[in-house]
């Protein structure tokens, strides 16, 4: 369940990609946590975001805002994708003040997250790094495609779908924005960043 890790791309390419995940600890704090997640959702939804969701109810691209808000369960994992580091600072300040007791993980450039933690007065408690992809790497999709598909950490965005949509954009049957929205749909959690995908698609076209 490291689904927000391993987003492929150059360091300079993550400026608009900041993922927040929130959950309760199973067996310790998860009972009765659905309402707390709903409260956190209300706080997060006030900030600019490009996607959000929970795997059980879906994301903005395969479900809808009201269904997500109404669908939290004790076992739900809440996700938001924010488009800039300044928003992450304001989000963390709000969450610190709310003191809801849910665990929160930010995925993005460590430099940005570290700065956001310092500004909001929160610690970097535990970190997780990607050590890259090893093994038969010749079996991987091309880098430009992987930069898009790896935004769904469960691997549900197919490389062939990216290639098919690139063809459709080249043929002027679809815009990059529309193609990015289609690519966001298979990702159930709502961690796929359609704005970044739109930008990356334009490079492939």
């Amino acid at each position: 369940m490291t689904h927000t890790l391993h987003r492929k791309g150059e360091a300079h390419d993550f400026g608009d990609d900041h993922v927040l995940l929130a959950m309760a600890a199973t067996g310790i704090t998860h009972k009765g946590s659905a309402e707390t997640k709903r409260k956190m959702f209300e706080i997060l939804a006030k900030h600019p975001h490009v996607n959000c969701g929970d795997v059980k109810t879906g994301s903005l691209f395969n479900s809808d805002f009201e269904s997500i808000r109404a669908g939290f369960q004790d076992t739900s994992v809440l996700h938001f994708v924010f488009p800039d580091k300044e928003t992450v600072v304001r989000v963390l300040e709000d969450l610190k003040a709310a003191d809801l007791g849910l665990s929160v993980v930010i995925t993005g450039l460590f430099d940005d997250t570290q700065a956001a933690c310092q500004k909001s007065g929160l610690p970097m408690h535990t970190v997780e790094y990607s050590g890259g992809i090893l093994g038969k790497t010749e079996r991987l999709a091309p880098n430009g495609v992987l930069e898009i598909t790896t935004m769904c950490g469960h691997g549900l965005v197919a490389a062939n779908l990216v290639l098919e949509l690139v063809k459709q954009v080249r043929a002027r049957r679809k815009t990059c924005a529309a193609a990015a929205a289609e690519l966001a749909a298979p990702c159930l959690c709502g961690i796929f960043n359609p704005k970044r995908a739109e930008r990356l698609l334009a490079k492939l076209v």
Partner: protein, 248 residues
Amino acid sequence: MIIAQDRCQGCAKCVPYCPVDAIISFKRDKAKGIAAHAIINSDECVECGACYRAKVCETDAFVRDVLPYPRVLRQLFSDPWFSHPGTDIPGRGTEEMKTNEVTGRFWDGYIGIGLEFGRPGVGCRLKETERAFQRLLPLGFVLEPKNPLTQLIADPKTGALKPEAREEKVLSAIVEGIVPLDKAAHAFEIIKELANEIDTVFSLDVIGKVARDGNIPVREAMRAAGFTPSAAGKTNVGLGRPLFEKHE
């Protein structure tokens, strides 16, 4: 997952949605009297459900049956709609560092390591993970008991999986555990060797607690072993309550 042949119109719109290329489409062959149609290669299908949820089939030809054991393992590892009964959370993994300030799963002096076999986008047979268990367990690699792959191990000494699970194909499965930091260098050497011994890919996860002085020992351990820590990654910002330290 199957495609009901009496409903499939052979439009092939579903084909690009499969993350593992398991949908095969056939064009109409008038001479042989074959209509255009698509089928799912059940041996390659990982039961992730992406084709079913894509909702591009105009005739609702995708049929998702209740899967028998051990085939259901494909679904439990590959489709995050389903929670593994041993973890109670969606997907193939665990809470790992996400709730670490509450669970205390990773603490000072230890390094968490995950080898995500099959990720990204290649997939793997579960048996391909056995090599990692064989190589890491003698080092004192302590497996995460809540990980669904750990729960398929038949022999804890060798890491051999239950025989019926070995051939099942999944989008990814995570070899997950911890070792003391002083064994990190050895673990990383084994991981480099493993990369040459397997027939798929794996994504490497490295987890560690940030020291009180802000130092990140696992990052230094990665560098010392010749790995480049990613510029982007995950940070638990310590908001969960109650803190593990308080009820130690």
